[in-house]
């Protein structure tokens, strides 16, 4: 065992040992955060500390601080990815940053794979919507529309539904239109519009377009035009026989 550890040092002679683990008892341990295995955080200690690897139970940990601010984003993200349940909110955001960059670089398949792995471990409600949006976006970008639909439907089952996030509604409405159900598409696309406010109005543009398309298919051209125009609140004729949201 010691030989193994010794050889580990020989292989990696220049281990960075400046990460810090703050414990709940007030102590701090410095080392290199290696990974999380068997439910324990593994911290590589400096040679001077004796034991090469310290295993720490997550319940003991208050905070993790990574000393890698100069390293590329990808490296920082992948390092942190091993410790998602223990990350601070700002460290968690680094993962999302990385996913966004992957999407920008058209590496949507990889973004999807990573997002689906990381999202279930996310501890922050404030970041949940971002994850879900990235998953749907990367699924769409990699041509996996069925998967995007499933993720959208799962998200829309939340109570309350995410009215302030238009993407899942767009995917579902689009799917209804594709399946020849403009009524369902209409009710879906209008839900976030109905619940919207002036803060998110600009993000609803695509939903207005989908509503317009659905209205057109149902033969209500005046309503369709109203959704296409800026003036959303002009008087319209009453749409007849528009049945309940299926």
């Amino acid at each position: 065992m010691h030989r193994l550890l010794h050889s580990l040092f020989l292989v990696c002679p220049t281990i960075l040992l400046a990460d810090q683990v703050d414990l709940r008892n007030g102590e701090s341990i410095t080392g290199q955060l290696a990974d999380m295995k068997g439910g324990y955080v593994n911290l590589l200690l400096p040679e001077a500390e004796g034991e090469a690897i310290q295993r720490i139970h997550p319940d003991q940990i208050l905070h993790l601080a990574f000393d890698d601010h100069e390293t590329p984003l990808q490296s920082r993200a992948l390092t942190r990815a091993k410790f998602i349940p223990l990350l601070s909110e700002s460290d968690s955001k680094i993962l999302l940053e990385h996913l966004s960059i992957l999407l920008l670089k058209n590496q949507s398949t990889q973004a999807l794979r990573l997002a689906k792995t990381w999202h279930p471990k996310n501890e922050y409600n404030t970041l949940d919507a971002t994850y879900r949006n990235i998953i749907i976006e990367s699924a769409l970008a990699s041509g996996q529309t069925e998967e995007a639909l499933i993720h959208s439907q799962n998200w829309l089952k939340q109570k309350p539904p995410p009215f302030e996030h238009p993407q899942p509604w767009e995917v579902l409405a689009q799917n209804h239109l594709k399946n020849g159900d403009p009524r369902a598409a209409l009710w879906t696309s209008l839900s976030p519009i109905a619940h919207g406010n002036h803060e998110n109005e600009s993000s609803l543009a695509k939903l207005h377009l989908l509503s317009a398309e659905a209205y057109q298919k149902l033969g209500y051209n005046t309503h369709a035009n109203a959704h296409l125009s800026l003036d959303q609140h002009s008087l319209l004729t009453i749409p007849t026989q528009l049945k309940i949201n299926p």
């Binding site: 209409l186 009710w187 209008l190 839900s191 519009i193 109905a194 619940h195 919207g196 406010n197 002036h198 803060e199 109005e201 309503h223 609140h233 002009s234 008087l235 319209l236 004729t237 009453i238 749409p239 007849t240 026989q241 528009l242 049945k243 309940i244 949201n245």
Partner: protein
């Protein structure tokens, strides 16, 4: 310090003196510079101080440097009273001294004096010092503006409103591009009447010096305009320009202001109200935003406060004021009850009012399904919205859900009524009656009870239960005689009597409406119906007079075309051909069926007076003007061919068959086929048309009494064609043939007609046969329900209905059906005999054997041609007599029965025979009839 001269100041080290009061943003503390200034040896000895103040009330023992030191230190610690005391002391004690006059002390001290005095509420001193500065010593712009602002504010606080106003005006003029201008306007506007404040604030918004102050000004402007009652101005400034995100603006203020403006806009401008409501954030978001805003402001204050120069100290005041206001708002917010559901419901109503009901329904459903105290109202709103969308089934569903959720709600009558109305729209009249009866049971409020009675009457009318309809309409009228609905009820009462051929009563009722001023909106309708009633009674002269009067009085009325047609019909019957022709020619309507009736009558008249060409021309005009619907294909062609020679007529027939024969909704095609001289070569590629030819063959076989051939051809319709390709007539024939052989495939053919061609003339027959199928398969309730959906009852449907009702032991309904069947003009003897026998059976069950005997007796007296019914009647009568112990009569009747050997094949005959054989001979003196 004493004895030091001014030799080291100004000339040699000018920068040090300048640093006294105006440290740069990076230089932290002007007091240090002030101390440097002191060390430079500027200050005159305190002895001069002592002498100079010999005459003042308060003797100032501190030296000038001490006062400056004290004042500076106090200012640094924000101990404004102490600072004010020190600097005012300098001003008061030194203003006549050379050290004051020949130096730039005043330029430096006076603004600080004013500021410290202002902060210490020593307004007089502040005004004095600042005025003095501005009058004599003001040089650089920043300090001047600062001083002007302080002066104006001090004047305001000192109650010198007019002077303050002037000071602000001067400040505005001098401010240029400085944000002081906006600050000045905001302060000024606060103390001006609205009509002065508003233009000032609008000026600011047109060209703001500070975006943050512009938002304040915008909110202030809207608030001022709102208090001034200028709603349009409020709308413009609230909505016409986008707001920056809430994190930057006065979050809570905007939300609450927007809610108030929206409430005022709702009545006349729901679209703008909706936009305003969309500016309102939920309480949780407001709290979150407000807390963020306070946190950000505090951080900003912490970061820049130490670097603020004296001139920028006014921002300190503004920060403090803003912080205090925001924190107060936060506290108020915490104490505010939850309001967003109310806002959501109002948004929903706005959506509905601007004809975007789906969005309205979405929001209403959201609230209705929550625990909100507004859930109930949202529920009721949702029902109304779906009704507006004519989504009757959903409206009814939601109404049911309301009743389930709020079974004891005092307003339960409304949703029940809505359910009933939805059921009526869906033509479910019996269930609608049930719902309406629940309305009557749930409330005594006349508006509801009158409506309930009215619609019960309407449903009964449509179900052809005229007695019940009359009763309900009468109840409606008696409940609320002066109301519009009572007028409607009276009208329908008249219509019921008209339908029942009680024309005189109908006429009187219409007359009653015409004589009631509260029902003036129905006068035209009543007058029209009087004309039709007179026409129906055959009083043609009076009918013509009435019609003429109506056409003269109501030149613009929706009934005008119908009245013209009626006038034409009346004149036709009176033989007034010219007048009739003129009347039909004047019919101008978009109703193609009414137009066709007129043109059909017109062409008949023209043909009758040998003006065939003109008749043809009229028909062609009609054809060009109106897009001939398929249901008029046959009738129109028949009208046309009357005007044509046989060859041309055949061409028209061929064309009509070819054009309309493939359309399942066209009518009269079979009749055209039957007069077609050269039928198209069979089989025809189009299955709908081919099926029609087959139906024509079937009808021909039947007319020739070749029933087996007819039946075979009917079955071939089922076996050789896909059901959805059959014309309704063919589908009916196929279904009937399959029904005859008890095939379970029969219903599908009938359902197809009912669902795809509900307006087809074959739809009632399809429903009747579907009911027969259900009856055959012991699905009696379903059979009865299907029969009740028939638009009108025929003798055949009444016969089936009677059998089912009797089977289900619904004797009261069965009795009514019997009476209807007996009054049916077109009922067959068999059907009437059945009705009489059934009445007898029902009456006997009600322990009235004598009445029962009478009913049965009528059967074998009047309907000898119906052997089964006659035999049944005889048998029952014999039983009745035996049950009354009238054995002689029973035996005599049995003998009479048995003499009719043509009935011997029937089991009743055999039964009577056996009974008779076991009975003794009748006594001649015994009673022979009841």
């Amino acid at each position: 310090m004493i004895g030091r001269t001014n030799s080291r100041c100004c000339c040699r080290n000018p920068h040090r003196t300048h640093q006294l009061l105006y440290p740069s943003l990076r230089a932290p503390k002007f007091p240090k510079n002030l101390r440097s200034f002191l060390k430079a040896g500027q200050v005159i000895v305190c002895s001069i101080l002592l002498c100079a103040h010999a005459t003042s009330q308060q003797i100032e023992y501190r030296t000038l440097p001490d006062l400056i030191e004290t004042g500076s230190a106090a200012l640094e610690q924000r101990n404004y009273p102490l600072a004010a005391n020190a600097f005012n002391s300098i001003y008061q004690n030194y203003q006549e001294e050379t050290v004051w006059k020949n130096s730039d002390l005043p330029r430096r001290i006076l603004p600080i004096t004013g500021f410290a005095s202002y902060k210490s509420n020593l307004h007089t001193q502040a005004i004095d010092a600042l005025q003095s500065y501005l009058d004599e010593y003001a040089e650089d712009l920043d300090t001047s503006l600062f001083a002007r602002y302080l002066l104006a504010s001090s004047l305001l606080r000192n109650g010198q409103a007019d002077s303050a106003k002037n000071a602000f005006i001067e400040l505005r003029a001098a401010a240029g591009d400085s944000p002081f201008r906006d600050l000045a306007i905001l302060q000024e506007a606060q103390h001006l009447p609205p009509e002065e404040a508003i233009p000032l604030l609008e000026d600011l918004l047109a060209n703001p010096r500070s975006q943050r102050l512009a938002n304040h000004a915008r909110l202030r402007l809207i608030t001022t305009a709102q208090k001034h009652g200028d709603l349009e101005r409020c709308r413009i400034h609230l909505l016409d320009t986008p707001w920056q995100s809430h994190s930057e603006s006065e979050t809570a203020s905007l939300s609450f202001l927007a809610a108030q403006i929206a409430a005022n806009l709702e009545t006349d401008n729901p679209g703008a109200a909706l936009s305003a409501y969309q500016l309102v954030l939920p309480k949780s978001k407001l709290l979150e935003a407000q807390e963020k805003r306070i946190h950000r402001l505090k951080k900003l204050h912490r970061d820049i406060s130490p670097t603020l120069t004296l001139n920028q100290g006014v921002w300190e005041e503004h920060f403090q004021a803003s912080l205090a206001r925001l924190e107060s708002e936060l506290q108020n917010l915490h104490n505010t009850p939850e309001y967003f559901d109310t806002i959501t419901l109002r948004k929903a109503r706005c959506f509905v009012r601007i004809n975007r009901p789906i969005e309205g329904a979405i929001l209403q459903e959201w609230i209705a399904s929550s625990d909100s105290p507004h859930a109930r109202d949202a529920h009721l709103d949702r029902i109304a919205t779906h009704r507006e969308m004519r989504d009757w089934s959903t409206a009814a569903k939601v109404a049911y859900a309301f009743i389930e959720k709020y079974p004891n709600d005092p307003d339960i009558a409304q949703p029940l009524l809505w359910i009933a109305l939805s059921q009526i729209e869906e033509k479910s009249y019996q269930p609608a009656i049930t719902s309406l009866q629940r309305v009557l049971a749930s409330t005594s409020e006349t508006s509801f009870t009158a409506s309930a009675h009215y619609y019960i009457g309407y449903c009964h009318y449509l179900l052809q239960n005229l007695n019940l309809a009359r009763s309900a309409f009468s109840d409606c009228y008696e409940t609320a005689p002066k109301t519009p609905i009572a007028g409607q009820a009276l009208l329908w009462l008249g219509i019921c009597h008209f339908t029942d051929n009680q024309l005189e009563t109908a006429y009187q009722l219409f007359e009653q409406i015409r004589n009631s001023p509260e029902h003036s909106f129905l006068h035209a309708e009543a007058a029209y119906r009087q004309a039709t009633t007179l026409y129906a009674t055959g009083d043609l002269e009076k009918a013509r007079e009435q019609c003429t009067s109506w056409l003269h009085e109501y030149k613009i009325h929706p009934r005008k075309a119908e009245a013209q047609v009626l006038f034409g019909d009346i004149n036709t019957e009176l033989g007034q051909t010219k007048a009739a022709i003129a009347a039909y020619q004047n019919v101008d309507t978009t109703d193609v069926h009414l137009a066709f009736h007129a043109i059909d009558q017109l062409s008949s008249l023209l043909i009758s007076i040998d003006r065939k060409t003109e008749a043809l021309s009229q028909l062609r005009n009609f054809q060009q003007k109106h897009n001939l619907p398929p249901e008029l294909a046959g009738p129109f062609t028949f009208s046309l061919i009357r005007c044509l020679d046989s060859k041309t007529a055949q061409k028209e027939i061929d064309q009509a068959i070819s054009r309309f024969g493939t359309d399942p909704d066209s009518t009269g095609i079979i009749e055209l086929i039957q007069i077609q001289q050269s039928p198209t070569q069979r089989p025809i590629s189009n299955p709908t048309l081919e099926s029609r030819y087959l139906v024509s063959d079937i009808q021909t076989h039947r007319s020739e009494n070749k029933h087996p051939q007819a039946k075979l051809k009917a079955l071939s319709l089922a076996s050789s064609f896909a059901p959805d390709t059959l014309a309704p007539s063919a589908s009916l024939e196929a279904g009937k043939a399959l029904l005859e052989i008890d095939s379970q495939e029969a219903p599908a053919y009938f359902q197809q007609i009912i669902e795809r061609h509900p307006d087809s003339p074959y739809a009632p027959a399809a429903k009747l046969n579907l009911a027969r199928h259900f009856h055959k398969n012991q699905q009696t309730s379903l059979a009865l329900a299907t029969l009740q959906e028939l638009p009108s009852q025929t003798p055949e449907s009444l016969e089936l209905k009677l059998q089912i009702e009797f089977q289900l032991q619904h004797y009261q309904s069965a009795q009514q059906t019997c009476e209807r069947l007996l009054s049916e003009q077109h009922a067959t003897p068999s059907q009437k005999a059945l009705a009489l026998n059934t009445l007898g059976l029902i009456t006997r069950r009600a322990d009235d054997p004598l009445s029962a005997y009478a009913y049965h007796q009528r059967v074998f007296t009047l309907y000898r041609g119906e052997p089964a019914q006659v035999a049944h009647a005889y048998s029952i009568c014999i039983d009745i007599l035996y049950s009354l112990n009238r054995y002689n009569d029973a035996q005599n009747l049995a003998d009479e029965f048995l003499k009719q050997t043509d009935l011997s094949h029937l089991h009743w005959y055999q039964k009577a025979k056996q009974q008779r054989m076991s009975a003794p001979q009748p006594q001649s003196h015994a009673q022979t009839s009841p």
